[in-house]
Amino acid sequence: MTHRGPFFGWLFSLLLTVFIWVPLPSAADQEGTLVIALDTLGGQTMDPILEGRAPHAHYQAPVFDALVGFNFEKGGIGPGVAERWELADDGQSWTFYLQKGLKWHNGDSLTAHDVKFSLERTMTKESLASRASALRRNVKKIEVIDDHTVQIFTNGVQVHFPASMSRAVFQEGQLMPKKYIEKVGVKEFRKNPVGSGPWKFVRSVQGDRIEYEAVDHPHWRGKPNFKKLVILLVPEESTRVAMVRTGEAAIASISPESLQEVEVAKLKVVSVPSTMQAVYQFWGAYRSEFAKSPIADKRVREALSLAIDRQSIIDHVMYGQASWPMPFATFGYSSDIDTARWQAWGKKALRYDPARAKQLLSEAGYPNGFDLNFANTALPGTPYMTQIGVAVADFWNKIGVKVKIKHYEWGAFRLLYRGDQKKLAGHTSMFRTAGRPVAAARYYGGFHSKGGHHLFGSKTDCPQRCQDFDNLHLSLVAEQDDAKRAQKTDKMLEMVADSWMAVPIIEGKGYWAVNPKKVGHFKPIPGRHEFGDVFERMPLPGQKAWP
């Protein structure tokens, strides 16, 4: 005689309990529409190779996964479609190991062939992806090892290559479906894109909105709680805030000017930490014709920094929603740096000390100040830079520097620092550095003789400091040993910090107005202003209350 009865009864009870208490994920769990109002939708194209700038991380990210993902807690990079990656012993290639069982929205499996196809497509001459040309230079060939392993051979050692495959940095790592595009053609793909992200594309109305629908199965980035997602283009900030107040939108991008209105209206403010750093920098100061100019003197450049009351800018220009900066282009999540050391450096070196500033000016031979040309500009997405620039100029005026401030629209300003920088050399200007985890790439752009700004020297006129920097940078980006790379990164930071050539003013945040009745409490990804990788983790209003 067997005693199955009590066993099956127990099993039945257990299963019943599980079904009652642990609801299985189903389409029915997802409800409502999450409406987001944005200031820009960039090129509003659903082909990843046609969007060059940051809005891709708002509106393409819901549909497309990237090869490398985020560290959601700290910021910076983390696992993506590739769950891990490793550098070959000779440093000449990276191998990426993909998650198994991933599917495109049309049901096809996502494989290493798609990764190869996507990167090669991003590298074509047709691509507008902002780092497409860098990718063309850096990648030698791509080989599929098996369905879940892909090896990327680089030209020389590229220790930071995986970072460039993450939306934490750029968009080049976004993956596209090989079979689907080859079957339907590029034109059809652009009309009806298929991705592998947690949201499926539904419709795009140019200049107005993009609509998405949540996938109804568990997704490695998180199964969306909302059934639908609509991203609206609402260029005027007052209108965006009004829409959040009326509930027409759940979330809207805002600037610091709107923070008070948002708080008065009892909405919530979500501040994304460390999305940018506002800086000022000296153009062409290395040139021989400026050898006797005040800005060629390091003491003067340091004095100008000491004259700035950063806390006052944080409190009054940024309404308290900004942080004390670390060295140029570094943040709490930056890789390869000693964060504690550099935070301490920032507190001390970037202090407000007008007495010492005046003393340094006297020592440099300018006790009564001097004339300083200052180009003020604001980069797209950070309009408050202009007000910061005006505040900085006022602080400099206070120590006797006669600032001649000139305001530039961003597109017009960009023309000035191209080519020989003739019109900008000898000037100081506002600038910005975006929140990115790898400082070395930004330092190349700022200080390398072949970089866009080349503040230490150019290809044709590279003084000693410029040569030292070029050599250090070259050795840093090829350094495979983590400890040695950290040392070299510290050295690079020291070199730039000690030059006072590009000086941080404040560390800015990304600002959002949120209607708590329309969406539950959520956390952004440090450093990534855009929410394209956060939408799926946003709870319904009743699911998680706001503190």
């Binding site: 194209t45 507008l128 140019q206 007052s238 027409e248 930004r442 752009g445 970089g451 866009g452």
Partner: protein, 305 residues
């Protein structure tokens, strides 16, 4: 009349060519779209490659001849930002603008004509002064501010109307008021002064002596003549509304031609900017031609040869 129309059309072609040339060269002085695509610290090497990708690497005069050659065949180039034919992008936005412009014009005229007549008939009265004050306010109020004010009052505080975007009937109310306020003021002042002049004229006195009813004198004889200058202003406003409703379209997130023009300028999307301005120029030429034809209808003394 037919000869006149053909002549005006030929002049129009010439004007469009001049406008195209000016826009082509002036646009390029203000920046390069490659800079708007690339990160702010991109190297010169990356920039050159992007310029090639965008097809902007040849000498400007060569680019101009290529553009003109294609334009004469109806191809205005590919929008740099949207990677779609620029003309296609323009025509996808034009219907949105054309939904709001006639509505605004109708509201403006329906309000301005009676108010203008009333002010003229009761010159110096409280009604006249009140209308005058409204006109000054309408002209002086920046529609950017007015739009935000209306949103705050009717959407945020009262909750009666949607804040922005295209949609059903209620979505038209606030943008129409915002755009129309300036128009009402302009039309009203013009109708008033025009009516005052006509009310003083000999033929009106004659009409009254002949015993015509005051209603007939005002609405049939005076108004028809008073509308002639209004027609000119209508043409100017109409062109301005189609191409220049940038502020209202921005405040109300209305995806029309005005906002498209602004975006093309900011992004240095030359092909799109050229296409928009060429299309706008053609549209304005047609509106002006229409005004001239309407002149002949309203005022039989005007004959084109």
């Amino acid at each position: 009349m037919r000869r006149y129309i053909v002549q005006r059309l030929l002049q129009g072609v010439f004007l469009v060519l001049i406008v195209t040339t000016i826009v082509f060269f002036l646009g390029r002085l203000t920046g390069n779209p490659a800079d708007m695509v690339l990160p702010e610290d991109a190297s010169e090497e990356d920039r050159q490659e992007m310029i090639e990708t965008l097809g902007l690497d040849g000498p400007v005069h060569t680019q101009f001849f290529i553009f003109m050659g294609n334009a004469l065949q109806g191809d205005l180039g590919l929008s740099i930002r949207y990677r779609q034919p620029a003309a296609e992008v323009f025509f996808s936005r034009l219907p949105n603008t054309m939904k709001i412009v006639p509505a605004t014009m109708i509201v403006a005229l329906v309000l301005a004509i009676p108010l203008g007549i009333l002010s003229a008939l009761r010159r110096g009265s409280v009604t006249d002064r009140f209308s005058g004050a409204i006109a000054v306010l309408g002209i002086a109020t920046p529609n950017f501010w007015l739009g935000i004010l209306l949103i705050y009052l009717f959407s945020v505080q009262l909750g009666w109307l949607p804040s922005a975007r295209m949609g059903g009937f209620t979505h038209y109310i606030l943008p129409t008021i915002t755009l129309g306020t300036f128009l009402v003021a302009g039309f009203m002042r013009l109708i008033r002064s025009s009516m005052l002049e006509i009310l003083d004229s000999e033929f009106v006195k004659l009409a009254r002596i002949k015993g015509l009813s005051e209603f007939k004198v005002i609405w049939k004889h005076c108004l028809r003549n008073a509308l002639i200058p209004v027609l000119s202003l209508w043409g100017v406003f109409m062109g301005g509304l189609v191409t220049g409703a940038i502020v209202t379209e921005t405040v109300f997130a209305w995806p029309g031609v005005g906002r498209l023009t602004y975006e093309a300028v900011i992004f240095r999307d030359f092909p799109l900017l050229q296409a928009v301005i060429i299309m706008d120029a053609i549209l304005i030429l047609f509106i002006n031609l229409l005004v001239d034809i309407l002149y002949a209808y309203v005022d039989p003394r005007i004959r084109y040869t």
